[in-house]
Amino acid sequence: MDENKAELIDRYLDEELSSDEKASFEALLEGDSDLKLEVEAQNAVRNMIRQQGEKAALLRMFEGFHETIGEKDIKKEDYNGKIIPLDENLSNNRRSKKLFKIDLGNWSRIAVAASVALTILGVWTVVKDRNAFDGAVEIRNNSDDEALRIPFLTWGTVDGKPVLQDRKFIDLKITRKTRYKFHYRFKSFLEIYSDSLTAKGEKITLQFDSDSKVHKLWIGKKIFIIKKTEEIIPLQ
């Protein structure tokens, strides 16, 4: 076999051998079980390479799609002004760096650090502040309502000590309505209704205790036990 073995096997598999070459190659195959195995092995490698190539190509394509999620093609149905975490870039952020800074006195400015982009439908607008550090995104809307993303921590007890089991984020909408003094609704995202939530610098965090299965909402240093609810009920 003068020709390179890999190339010869390729030509055989691609049916590119002339009829003479094919006949002599098949005669070789007849008497050589090792060569037979080599052909089989090369065929398997080619198939695997192509399969992996196709997967890699799809993945590259998906990365492109992912970057433009939320830019357009947003379906508005069944969202009803709900805040949708369309932030495909979140995965690129180091979550540990994310801070939620609330400029209070008036709930109209919320800087979400580390380029946490929330895409919001309806009256919400997202303003990218180029001067803000770390690509912070400020969220405003036309009324007094606010939307932000808050830490959602899951705690459990291991060997008598509380251990952080999971750290993610949940969307929070704060609605200023006089008919609700201090209420909430907790579905896949959290809504707080308050006309008086103005304390300065209060950090809002949601915690889930995986032992007692209780959700605790921290507003500043105050803790409120909340539960999943479809209705708007008082925070207490």
């Binding site: 390179n4 073995k5 890999a6 190339e7 096997i9 195995l37 080599e38 089989e40 092995a41 090369q42 398997a44 490698v45 080619r46 695997m48 390479i49 192509r50 992996q52 190539g53 196709e54 997967k55 890699a56 190509a57 799809l58 993945l59 394509m61 998906f62 799609f65 992912h66 433009t68 999620i69 939320g70 093609d73 379906k75 949708i84 975490p85 369309l86 932030d87 495909e88 979140l90 995965s91 979550r95 899951t154 089991q165 999971d166 750290r167 993610k168 949940i170 896949s188």
Partner: protein, 188 residues
């Protein structure tokens, strides 16, 4: 009597099968939010959501291309959701955790196409891991992208097409040798 069999998403499936990138793009973007929610609700992070989504999407697209979903009798989005759902359950199980949101009733009607890789395929994947990234890129450029040798040489930094070609053959020799052992192990 006429029995009606409906394949609600056959136009979409056909478009994806034909390589319509716009259709695939729309389908991709429309469904991420829902999967992200499901993963969020079940102790997953953003990275988890994207990972499980893209992996499932690859699986579904390859099934479409292989004609396995030609007769899908549910919505393609529901099907995708269930692939993601089961994949995510698998991952949680591996981490020793359970789904919090319980079983999703919508999934009961979805007939899944079995896609468990055979041990032989897994062994072959391992072979590909053993030949090194450079060889893998070279073989992919040649066998999958079917690029001419000179272009491969430019892209991967070989002196000329001849040295790219001889390296390609060496890589194939190496992979074939490893694959031979794998086949022996499974079939002989």
């Amino acid at each position: 009597m006429i029995t009606e069999i409906s394949f609600p998403d056959s136009p979409l499936i056909k478009a994806i099968k034909d390589g319509n990138e716009r259709a695939l793009s729309l389908f991709y973007k429309e469904n991420f939010g829902k999967i992200q929610n499901m993963v969020f609700k079940n102790s997953g992070s953003d990275d988890d959501a994207k990972d499980v989504y893209q992996e499932s999407m690859i699986e579904v697209v390859l099934q479409i291309k292989n004609g396995k979903l030609d007769q899908l009798n549910s919505k393609l989005s529901t099907y995708l959701y269930s692939v993601c759902y089961y994949k995510w359950i698998d991952r949680l199980r591996k981490k020793g955790r359970a789904m919090e949101s319980g079983f999703d009733n919508d999934l009961e009607d979805v007939v899944m196409v079995e896609d468990t890789p055979s041990p032989y395929l897994l062994a072959m994947e391992k072979v590909m891991g053993q030949i090194g990234d450079k060889c893998r890129d070279l073989l992919q450029a040649f066998y999958y992208e079917k690029l001419p040798m000179i272009q491969i040489a430019n892209r991967l930094g070989f002196l000329d097409d001849n040295s790219a070609k001889s390296q390609k053959n060496k890589c194939m020799d190496k992979a074939r040798g490893l694959a031979k052992n794998t086949i022996r192990q499974f079939y002989i």
